[in-house]
Symmetry: C2
DNA sequence: ATGACTGCAAACTGTTTGCAGTTAA
DNA sequence: TTAACTGCAAACAGTTTGCAGTCAT
């Protein structure tokens, strides 16, 4: 495969739209979990999300966190990321900056997007007959800080 | 990011090198598990691998399968793949065809490789200071068969 | 001979579920 | 009012571990 020249956009963005679908009832717990995910720029795992939620309002259970995440995934409001160390994290869905470079030493994550994605999409659709729904690129390595040490 | 033109190689290949490092002792069980993984062109999950192993020689336990997989991962002889449905599969490490397109309906998997990988590598190293160790591209969609139905 | 392995059963981790009580609509 | 929710504890699946015995070297 030939891919003459690419450029890299390292970005982070945030949408700011209206109240979303939170199941049929917007309960205190669901709003809380939703807000934490929405306002956080990091990837949160279930445990962290749960702790953050309890810090604000102790009337949240772990099961509700799981149930709400499932809901948000179904509604395509959050993305689930599975890292190499098997940690599962969640982040508010972004319109760009989908892809990740992760430092295997310190865990630092840099996001980027690339036109490769569309090209790949087009080529794959043409050559395999697949209708492409999603492209995910995960890069792992060692960041400059960790390399220095 | 700009990525003017790419082409797609859909391939499968097989290495044929000498006896590998299987921990410190090449036991019957380890050789068996190694051989099954090596000779299989599919991605095997733990359960399938275990069943295949028992069909050949019943003196293998599930724990040994887990322990041997861990060993092979450490030695970089097999790759672990986590699919969207959370199934974990293992395959003999390949020198090409690392990437996957997966049909969300029937589970069919097509492998491919792309020069995007190297370009991405170079760009990311230049722009983020990371030393890139691995690039993984996972595509999901619907295959031609399933689209027809 | 001996310490790197193995099988077994028990432990563990992350996630899901049934149920009785609670609460948003 | 009432059915969609919640918290709790118990169940669950996949994986890991301690231990006593086995086997490759």
């Amino acid at each position: 495969m030939d891919c003459p020249d690419i450029q890299l956009d390292i970005k982070s963005d945030q949408r700011d739209d209206a109240v979303p679908v939170l199941g049929q009832r917007a309960t205190r717990q669901r709003r809380l979990i939703y807000d934490i995910l929405r306002s956080s720029n990091e990837h949160l795992d279930v445990e962290t999300l749960y702790r953050k939620a309890r810090d604000i309002d102790s009337r949240v259970s772990l099961s509700t966190v799981y149930r709400t995440i499932a809901l948000l995934k179904e509604s395509h409001l959050v993305d689930e990321l599975i890292f190499e160390d098997d940690r599962r994290c969640y982040e508010f869905k972004k319109t760009s900056g989908h892809h990740h470079v992760r430092c295997q030493s310190c865990g630092r994550i840099v996001e980027f997007e690339t036109s490769c994605e569309e090209r790949l999409r087009d080529r794959l659709e043409a050559q395999t007959g697949f209708e492409v729904e999603s492209v995910r690129i995960d890069v792992a390595g060692y960041c400059s800080n960790c390399r220095a040490r």
